[in-house]
Symmetry: C2
DNA sequence: TGCACAAACTAACGAGCGTTAGTATAGCAG
DNA sequence: CTGCTATACTAACGCTCGTTAGTTTGTGCA
């Protein structure tokens, strides 16, 4: 009996990851069987266990990678900001990285946003903690802007959710072959987010 | 053998609907078994077939009802507007009914927004058509406002998605026992949507 | 009182599930 | 050439799934 690998690294393991990610994102974890995944890779279900210890281990591997890439994208984008960036710049930076991730990695985004409930309790808690840490970044940006008087909002928490969620939804409908580039898309969402936080009064004329 | 009912109307059928709606929304259609639903109601799985022809028939019954209530909510809200309402009023009216539905009927909202893929092809197409009709309402409001010059947007389609989606997300986190009433929540989202569509320039001072 | 019918039950079906055991095979290190 | 390791296979396990058949039970009407 081969030992159960903790984190499989091989060409086959990567094919399994790719096939499982697509099917978990499209059909859901519990509607996808080990036999489905195996046949996408061209092997039998039992052979999956040479690479992953269980079905949930595949989901957790994919979930962890997705969160790492999401957080890394945020970090590398925010690191490029100048010293003492304005809240407006920090907001634009976060929203751009947020929307770009959800546009470019739609399967990872769908996984992270709708399949966490299938994880074991331990893994689920870790995933929720990573998500909370990610969401807190935007909330801090918004609260800093409010404190400095450049943003205005009736409810910072709700506005945070609203901006996060409108970006997440991109993973559900955006297609690279469509009329918009990822850069176009990011600019649209940056503008929408900025307007949501603009201080009143909004109109100058009349 | 009892006849297979097309649309079951009885106290037990309603208990089945309630239990199935909750579990489909929370755990997903394919992670919920007929035995799970039956035991919530206090009967055996086989007895469910006295009320519904199949598992998918339960899902379709719930989906249809949810869409009907969503569309009815929109219609009755829009009907209360005065003659020749302004685009701002129509926007506020739609967003209020949208957010109120997703706050008050979170299970129905979750069902409609994430379990359509489990329907048969025929039912799925009907559901998507109802959703498209619903979404078109907001898009028309936005486009009318843009045409009249009271709204401004870089991309009406994306802005429509953004407003719809930030409201849908309410079903995932809002709890009536929390700090906000449904009316508070609606007002916050109406303000956010209005700001998203406000014509530039946004700032008066400086 | 007896009949009818709705709605519950038990039992079981064939299929598919995640998973394990045991085996075959190919490539590489000694 | 030999043996080890990685990775595939076949076969099967115990279990759960949606669903059906046939039976029992209780209620309300003739």
């Amino acid at each position: 009996m081969p030992p159960v690998p903790e984190a499989a690294i091989s060409a086959t393991a990567d094919e399994i990851r790719e096939a499982a990610l697509e099917q978990f994102a499209r059909d859901g974890y519990s509607a996808t069987s080990m036999r489905d995944i195996a046949s996408s890779v061209g092997i039998k279900a039992a052979s999956l266990y040479n690479h992953f210890g269980s079905k949930e281990a595949i989901l957790w591997d994919l979930t962890l990678t997705a969160f790492e890439e999401l957080l890394r994208g945020r970090d590398s984008a925010m690191a490029k900001l100048p010293d003492n960036p304005s809240p407006e710049d920090r907001l634009a930076c976060f929203v751009t990285s947020h929307v770009a991730f959800h546009a470019r990695n739609s399967n990872q985004a769908l996984l992270v946003n709708s399949q966490l409930a299938a994880l074991t309790k331990t893994h689920y808690r870790k995933a929720v903690a990573m998500r909370a840490q990610y969401e807190a970044t935007l909330r801090e940006v918004i609260e800093e802007g409010v404190a400095k008087g450049v943003f205005s909002t009736t409810d910072a928490r709700v506005t945070t959710f609203a901006i996060l969620q409108m970006g997440m939804a991109v993973s559900g409908w955006f297609r690279p072959a469509g009329p918009l580039t990822v850069a176009d898309l990011c600019n649209i969402y940056v503008e929408l987010a900025a307007k949501m936080l603009t201080p009143l009064p909004l109109k100058c004329k009349e």
